[in-house]
């Protein structure tokens, strides 16, 4: 027998997004660590105590959008952000595809009313890219 966590679709979307952003920042930090970046250096660049950066990286402190940009800057990265249209495919484990190419497949547009958080690997939506 199985069960699911009961949580509203909008809060599922929030949980996924917050987690995706945090993981993107952690991943960027670990990559930059290999080049010698430290939490102390980030803290110094942003004018805060190292413990603040530590708690932000670990998820023990919320991040504002501005802080995301500041962390990205301090790591030599630039944040990118997109809001791709979401389409869910019923009874399928396939990735979302455009409706124009799949007329034989039942589609359901996703919005606040239908509230089905369609796929989209969140990592493809939020990324911290190397600054040019």
């Amino acid at each position: 027998m199985s069960f699911q966590i009961t949580i509203s679709p909008s809060r599922k979307a929030a949980a996924r997004f917050v987690t995706t952003v945090r993981r993107a920042i952690q991943k960027a930090y670990v990559e930059e660590q290999k080049s010698g970046l430290t939490q102390t250096a980030i803290a110094r660049a942003l004018g805060v105590h190292r413990s603040v950066i530590n708690r932000e990286l670990r998820g023990k402190k919320d991040l504002t959008l501005g802080r995301v940009a500041e962390l990205a800057w301090a790591m030599g990265r630039s944040p990118s952000f997109a809001l791709p249209k979401t389409v869910a495919i019923l009874n399928s484990n396939l990735p979302p595809v455009s409706s124009a190419s799949t007329s034989a497949i039942v589609h359901r547009a996703v919005g606040p009313a239908s509230a089905v958080p369609a796929n989209n690997n969140p990592a493809s939506v939020v990324a911290l890219e190397m600054a040019n």
Binding site: M1, Q4, K12, T19, Q33, K61
Partner: protein, 166 residues
């Protein structure tokens, strides 16, 4: 003796599979099954918990996100310092979010059996780690599960695949 699947199919079930509700296009790569006590906690107690750290995501939402990541095929973490899984000895592991600790064990690689969970701050304030470790061990010992009942390794890579991106 029985497999994990057998134990979820008994009446009443000895274990309940937690369906992560992954998105389209995401294959379930790791799985979580729960004791009846943990299932009741997730359904009845967890929704009422607030974030002791004052975070925008409630503990329930943190747990949902953690389950999504755990069950997907993404790396569980990046580097050595961010630990979503922590070994407490005696084959007992905790699945962690900023506000929560869920205690259980791995009978098979990528198969987590959760036994009990609670607010991390409350656990630390009342020093409840040993109590939860003992509870997991007692539940595991009493469970009619095929031997060997748990993976003894203490490295995360012993119990999960694709643990670390780095």
């Amino acid at each position: 003796m029985a497999t994990l699947l057998d134990l979820t199919r008994r009446a009443p079930p000895a274990l309940y599979r937690l369906d992560p509700g992954l998105d389209d296009g995401t294959q379930e790569f790791r799985c979580i099954v729960c004791s009846p006590r943990l299932k009741a906690w997730i359904e009845q107690d967890l929704p009422a918990l607030g974030s002791a750290l004052g975070l925008q995501l409630s503990p329930l939402e943190q747990f949902f996100a953690s389950v999504q990541t755990f069950c997907s095929d993404e790396p569980l973490t990046y580097g050595e310092q961010f630990k979503p899984l922590y070994c407490r000895g005696r084959g007992v592991w905790e699945l962690r979010t900023p506000d929560l600790r869920v205690f259980g064990w791995f009978p098979l690689k990528d198969h987590f059996v959760g036994v009990a969970g609670n607010d991390a701050t409350y656990i630390k304030q009342h020093n409840l780690y040993e109590g939860y470790i003992g509870e997991v061990v007692r539940f595991r010992d009493a469970l009619d599960l095929d031997e060997p009942k748990f993976i003894p390794g203490e490295e995360a890579t012993d119990v999960v695949s694709n643990y670390n991106f780095a």
